[in-house]
């Protein structure tokens, strides 16, 4: 299927280029938007593999939720790029060294084992892969799945603990009190005698 291949290389190319742009673009907002594009292209590649659940979840979680908050924060920050780039020349040699080491590792791994192009297995032949994933998640991986839930709970507790402050001096409304109010608390009926005409 040549069309599939063309689409794959298209999205693969967009993915690589946008990933590169994330780290090279001068404007942080652009970086975040390029990262969004990255996730999106990756999701499209998942779709080509017929892994629609993973693709949609990637878009839903990363693009729809995580990156929105990223963008939110980055937009509000006044990032001084010259200050950030100050140490660039100094750290460049170290960076290159690490990058070369990583590249060498990848090269050795690929060279020693070869690339196996037959690893793609279509697991979803019977039933949708959403169903299959769900079944595995709640049977075979039940224990790790539950632990992951607790990790998220701890993240919530930690975030609230670190940011939530009680400010007794701030004024706020208590809606339940507002609802519970009765007429007698607010309004008093007063009988006022008319002054009469006897002036």
């Amino acid at each position: 299927m040549p069309i599939i291949e063309i689409i794959f290389y298209l999205f693969g190319g967009v993915l690589t280029l946008s990933a590169l742009s994330v780290i090279t673009s001068r404007n942080p907002v652009y970086s975040v938007l390029f990262l969004v594009l990255c996730f999106f292209s990756a999701a499209c590649i998942w779709l080509l593999l017929e892994a629609e659940f993973l693709a949609i979840t990637l878009v839903l979680v990363y693009v729809g939720a995580v990156m929105v908050l990223f963008l939110f924060v980055v937009m509000m920050l006044d990032i001084n790029l010259t200050k950030l780039k100050a140490g660039f020349a100094r750290y460049l040699p170290v960076g290159i060294l690490v990058a070369l080491a990583m590249a060498a590792q990848l090269f050795i791994l690929v060279w020693s084992r070869g690339l196996d192009s037959q690893v793609l297995v279509h697991a979803a032949d019977e039933g949708s892969n959403t169903r299959l994933l769900g079944e595995v998640l709640f049977t075979e991986y039940l224990y790790p799945f539950e632990i992951a839930g607790f990790i998220l709970l701890v993240a919530i507790v930690a975030a609230i603990m670190l940011t939530h402050r009680r400010r007794p001096q701030t004024k706020y409304q208590d809606p339940s009190q507002q609802v519970r109010i009765r007429r007698e608390d607010r309004v008093r009926l007063v009988r006022v005698e008319s002054e009469g005409e006897d002036s």
Binding site: F53, I56, V63, G64, S128
Partner: protein
């Protein structure tokens, strides 16, 4: 190769068959809004263009298309132009999986509901990017408000859908509708009533409509994130907003009101399911959007947040448990 081409052409044709009526529906929805609100406020509404004002939407569209797009000074040109498209694309893309009847659906995919959630969650980018790129404080304030609101209500909305998923046992929209077969009383609005209410109200908040329209807040921040937009760019924002309202109405009809199923199942002729039932229900919910706008005063921002986080999310979580009990005991679903 020829075969692939025909498949492609047929798909494009089907897409157009959804898109064109949708755009027309948006056009007349704007007219309906002005008319309905007009009558609710004892006015007539637009009645100059065409018989009874029926051609008013076309006049509006041509006016907007012919106007100049003004780029504010120091705005970010590229993102400023991109933002309206970012809003519009997901609003239309979500329609790909909406089933109009038993067989009328563009893409009957298994994870349809997830796809819709993913697409609706993308709409916020247009708002954020547009507000930021405008280089205007009102636009920026509006976009922050709107983004925070959309992200907050998405959670309640997603949770409300979990109840539907539990009872129907599927993420496929056609299967969800079929799981509700039977009359009016076997639709999911009954067992999932709190979720239905939460879902629809969250939908109103997601589309930044009254009474949750602080993001636009004419009286305080002029018009929110699209204050700097004019001409066709503004028209795109407008189009997206109304397309999203129609989408929310359609989804509510599908998920809680049995989609194309007839409320009088079993009765001859009027008991037959069909696309007309789906359209009637959708229009009904679309009317609710207008009704809300005409009657409710605007929520204050902190009250919106409180409602979303402290009221809706707990309600949905509790009702998810109840729905699970329904399912396990076999009362509904399963």
């Amino acid at each position: 190769m020829i075969e692939q081409f025909t498949v492609l052409a047929w798909t494009v044709a089907k897409v157009l068959m959804i898109m064109v009526p949708l755009i027309l529906a948006v056009a007349y929805y704007t007219l309906a809004e002005r008319k309905v609100i007009g009558y609710m406020q004892s006015r007539v509404g637009p009645n100059r263009v065409g018989p009874k004002g029926l051609f008013q939407p076309f006049a509006d569209v041509f006016k907007l298309l012919l106007k100049e797009i003004i780029l504010p000074a120091n705005s970010n040109r590229f993102l400023f132009i991109l933002a309206p498209m970012l809003t519009l694309v997901p609003a239309f893309a979500a329609w790909a999986v909406v089933p109009f009847s038993d067989r009328l659906v563009l893409a009957d995919i298994d994870a349809g509901l997830l796809y819709i959630l993913a697409m609706t969650s993308l709409g916020v980018y247009g708002v954020i990017v547009g507000g930021w790129a405008s280089n205007s404080k009102y636009a920026f304030l509006g976009c922050l408000r709107s983004a925070a609101q959309i992200v907050s209500y998405e959670i309640a909305m997603g949770f409300a859908l979990v109840g539907v998923i539990i009872l129907s046992g599927s993420l496929n929209l056609s299967t969800i509708v079929n799981a509700q077969s039977g009359g009016l009383l076997s639709w999911f609005w009954l067992p999932l009533f709190p979720l239905f209410v939460v879902y629809f109200i969250s939908g109103v908040a997601e589309t930044n409509r009254a009474p949750f329209d602080v993001a636009e807040g004419e009286s305080e921040i002029v018009a929110g994130f699209h204050v700097e937009y004019s001409g066709s760019a503004f028209a795109l924002f407008f189009l997206a907003e109304y397309a999203n309202m129609i989408l929310i109405s359609a989804l509510t009809a599908l998920l809680f009101f049995g989609g194309w199923l007839s409320p009088f199942a079993g009765v001859p002729i009027i008991g037959e399911p069909g696309a007309h039932w789906f359209l009637i229900k959708t229009v009904g919910f679309m009317f609710l959007f207008l009704w809300f706008r005409a009657t409710f005063p605007r929520y204050r921002y902190d009250q919106i947040m409180r409602l979303g986080w402290k009221v809706f999310i707990p309600i949905t979580i509790v009702w998810i448990l109840v729905a699970a009990v329904f399912r396990v005991t076999g009362l509904y679903g399963g």
